[in-house]
């Protein structure tokens, strides 16, 4: 066991983790953040995506100890100011949510894209979510939502 300290959704967090424990496990089991999903556990589906220093990572393949000193974001971050992020609004409005199991991870991949690229084209969007499987939606309304949110973020000057 060792103690790790990191920023979790903007707040300091500190937990004890096993050496071989995944970040997925630490977030879900130790911190109760169940928005991070396990769809496969071996880096094939993307439902466990979290942001490490604003870059998407599969938390099932990331050792918890690697989070030490980093900035970890889960979907809770997007509405931490008390209002929905434009991406969340757009996901709701565009019908981008069906069963919703892939949704938190999709939102994070999309959020990371918009940080890197405020004007993503259709291909950029497809690429950004290509590591996130969705069995329900066929991705189209998700892509629409991301495009719409990008427009709104630009107008708001929001990240």
């Amino acid at each position: 066991m060792k103690t790790i300290r990191f920023l979790l959704n903007g707040k300091e967090a500190s937990i004890e983790v096993e050496d071989n424990e995944t970040l997925l496990c630490a977030l879900r089991e130790r911190l109760g953040i169940t928005s991070v999903k396990e769809g496969c556990g071996i880096g094939e589906c993307g439902t466990c995506t979290v942001l490490v220093d604003d870059e998407p990572h599969y938390s099932c393949l990331t050792l918890a100890s690697k989070a030490n000193g980093r900035d970890i974001k889960t979907v809770e971050y997007l509405s931490s100011s008390g209002v929905l992020h434009p991406l969340q609004e757009a996901f709701i409005r565009s019908g981008a949510v069906q069963c919703g199991y892939c949704t938190p991870a999709m939102l994070l991949s999309a959020y990371s894209l918009l940080l890197r690229n405020a004007n993503p084209d259709a291909h950029d969007i497809k690429e950004a979510i290509s590591g996130n499987l969705c069995r329900c939606t066929g991705y189209i309304q998700i892509e629409e939502a991301i495009k719409n949110a990008a427009e709104i973020c630009k107008c708001n000057g929001q990240d």
């Binding site: 071996i42 589906c45 979907v75 019908g95 069963c99 892939c102 069995r135 189209i140």
Partner: protein, 718 residues
């Protein structure tokens, strides 16, 4: 008006916030973890099971075998032929043998690996054609599960007088549902000692009954709750974790959680049925179809699951959405020692669509007719007779879907070598085939002055909760959504039947309408429509005891004739046409779907955004079925070697909604869930032919298969 509007989903907010509690997220104080020990052999007698090492592991609480089952050790939606836990014999690789319950999930899994099982192998009946001849019986009644026929007119005679005949064989393989959330749930005893199971499921009332039989307790002593469910597509219709959880709770008296790993879900859960289809089509020179003869052989694995359902549904849909005067279909489903095949989006119809749509294009090619024209010529329309001689009295919008596609089809142009265009049409009977499949619900009023809808419908992501609320609001003539939804719990709802067969909008929608009529009458008497606030009505009602308004609907159908399947197996049908443009790289064999036009007659789109969502999702699954998905027993162990479409594989999709209103449906609605998938693979295959001149008759047309076909073709041409 709520119908036809894009009302946002009632479940979407919690899902974007990450707050929705999926089955995987359920937890309780003091809970234990269960996992299942599964067979490593496809067909064997269990000689000896040694659990001593597993039992000795610290943290192991209980190991449960078939001998520990208090009630009946058999389940099945159609026929009770599958054991919860193998009793002396296993019939497929992955079959459940024991349940291990432990203090942690890791301990449970570690202990399960310490169980030693001695098998005595029996002949592995690895395909249905072996099954036909084998003296080894998988079940005492023989290896043939089901044989259904459709006989209309005289096909043999009609072939004699046909101008052209095309005959080919098609085959499809196992497909995994691959819902992103694997099977999971939590079981516990409530304060009164009742058995409660919350799980990821498509049918709560059915599972309540199965648990009651398993534990030999009355159904009222069981409560099943639907957790937020991460996809279903048919795979969560069968009992999955629910039986194991109930047994584990029964024996430990503690809360128990379990979930399948992805590998376990792939190994043990049901799959789409592989079908082998020999298909013969006759037509006249003018393109009109004269006769169809089809032989279908299916592989259901060792248990029925939905094998009989698929056998019959494939048979009655075998001709596709066309007027065919003479029909002879033999559809047979065999037991094998392969994975259990069960319900999956379309119940055999997508497989048949591959065949009838390919055949039609071949006929068109022979007589020099345009593929769209031959479809228009033969399309079922109002007044037509189906293959089962059912007269289509109402909604039948196939022609309208073809017309919606027509401009794009006529203007299609091949931009580059390797590009091609294909069509696929389908029809699909809404609801179960020729049997009663009712839905019921009830409404009541709350002290706060709101209507409460009690619904047993499992929303698995398709959006039925929202759609039913929209229907109720309009049926009551309400201005705003003043309705509370109480859902997904056998304690607080009536049986709505399964979320399958594209039936919930149509059937449960009608049940809601029925209840709404009664509530409306009551509200009228109480002066609601004259301006009396609902709150006052509710307060008055509370003094006298709040009334309950029950709704019920069972679609009118007739049982198929046992010999000929003639009859009216469905109350209504959905229709669709997909057009697909592909790009085939003739060197590498990579086929990319570029653009899809998908026109669907849904009767009435209650929620346009939901309908489009179903169409897009169906196209994606159809692309997977056509181009990449293939479950190979023993090989497909994870998403590493079972490929699913990603965003990069998706074509551009133009969803077109046709509304030929169905008078027996809620505000004219039918269904769209399965139709969205059904014609897609067929359209891809026809487009590949257009691009390359090669007829792919086996799915999937993945890179290797396509490359091989292209190379062979080149050699032949040389």
């Amino acid at each position: 008006m709520f119908i036809g509007q894009d009302i946002t989903r009632v479940d979407a907010l919690d899902k974007v916030l990450g707050k929705a509690a999926f089955a995987h997220d359920l937890t309780k104080n003091n809970m234990l973890f269960a996992c299942v020990v599964r067979s490593s052999r496809p067909h064997a007698v269990l000689k000896r099971i040694d659990v001593s090492a597993a039992r000795a592991l610290e943290g192991v609480v209980k190991i449960i075998s078939h001998e520990d089952i208090p009630g009946e050790n058999l389940f099945g939606a159609i026929k009770k032929d599958q054991p919860f836990l193998a009793a002396g014999r296993v019939r497929y690789k992955g079959e459940a043998i024991l349940i291990v319950v432990a203090a942690t999930e890791e301990t449970a899994r570690r202990a399960s690996e310490l169980v030693r099982i001695e098998y005595e192998d029996l002949e592995n009946i690895s395909d249905p054609f072996l099954s036909i001849q084998s003296p080894v019986l998988i079940h005492d009644g023989g290896n043939l599960l089901s044989h259904r026929k459709v006989i209309k007119g005289d096909a043999a005679k009609a072939f004699e007088s046909s101008d052209v005949i095309v005959e080919n064989t098609y085959s499809t393989t196992w497909i995994d549902h691959a819902y992103m959330e694997t099977e999971a749930g939590l079981g516990y005893l409530d304060d009164r000692g009742r058995m409660v199971v919350a799980s990821s499921t498509q049918n709560i009332h059915y599972k309540m009954k199965e648990i009651s039989r398993l534990l030999a307790i009355p159904p009222e002593e069981v409560r099943v709750i639907q957790a937020t469910t991460g996809g279903g597509f048919g795979g969560k219709l069968d009992v999955t974790v629910e039986g194991y959880l109930a047994l584990a709770v029964w024996h430990t008296k503690r809360p128990v959680f379990m979930r399948y790993t992805r590998e376990e879900s792939l190994l043990a859960q049901t799959k789409r049925h592989p079908l082998y289809i020999v298909y013969k089509t006759g037509a006249r020179k003018d393109g009109s179809l004269t006769a169809v003869e089809v032989n279908i052989v299916g592989d259901t694995g060792p248990y029925n699951s939905y094998g009989e359902t698929v056998c019959l549904r494939a048979a009655v849909h075998a001709t596709g959405p066309y007027e065919v005067p003479n029909v002879l279909v033999n559809s047979r489903m065999f037991y094998t020692n392969n994975p259990v095949a069960g319900a999956m989006r379309g119940f055999g119809v997508p497989q048949l669509a591959l065949a009838h749509e390919s055949q039609l294009d071949e006929i068109a090619g022979l007589i020099g007719m345009d593929p769209l024209d031959i479809r228009m010529k033969n399309a079922l329309k109002r007044g037509s007779l189906t293959a089962t001689s059912q007269v289509l009295n109402h909604s039948a919008g196939l022609l309208e879907t073809l017309k919606a596609i027509e401009p794009a089809w006529r203007e299609r142009r091949k931009e580059r070598p390797g590009s091609g265009f294909g069509l696929g049409c389908m029809y699909y009977g809404i609801g179960n085939t020729g049997i009663s499949n009712p839905s019921s619900c009830y409404l009541t009023l709350t002290p706060e002055g709101r209507v409460e809808m009690h619904s047993g419908v499992c929303d698995i992501g398709q959006g039925s909760d929202t759609v039913l609320l929209q229907i109720l609001c309009d049926a009551l003539g309400m201005e705003e959504m003043g309705i509370d939804l109480v859902r997904g719990d056998t304690d607080t709802s009536y049986d709505a039947g399964s979320t399958s067969a594209s039936r919930q909008t149509y059937i449960s929608g009608m049940a809601v309408c029925d209840a709404a009529q009664k509530l409306k009458k009551y509200l009228k008497e109480q002066g609601y429509y004259d301006g009396k606030p609902l709150k006052d009505i509710c307060r008055d009602a509370a003094d006298k005891g709040v009334p309950i308004f029950e709704g019920y609907f069972d679609p009118p159908t007739t049982a198929p004739d046992p010999e000929t399947s003639q009859g009216a197996p469905y109350a209504t049908y959905a229709f669709a046409t997909h057009m697909t443009e592909v790009d085939v790289d003739e060197v590498t064999g990579v086929c990319k779907a570029v653009k899809v036009h998908a026109a669907h007659d849904v009767g009435r789109a209650i929620n346009v955004s939901n309908v489009k969502g179903q169409i897009y999702g169906g196209v994606a699954m159809g692309i997977g079925l056509a181009l990449m998905e293939e479950f190979i027993p023993g090989k497909s162990e994870s998403f590493d070697n079972y490929y699913l479409p990603t965003s990069m594989d998706m074509p551009e999709v133009e969803a077109m909604i046709v509304e030929d209103r169905e008078p027996t449906g809620p505000f004219g609605a039918k269904g769209v869930g399965e139709p969205a998938l059904i014609p897609q693979a067929a359209a891809v295959v026809n487009a590949i032919y257009d691009a390359t001149g090669i007829r792919m008759r086996q799915l999937p047309c993945d890179i290797e298969r396509l490359k091989l076909a292209l190379e062979k073709d080149k050699e032949n041409k040389r």
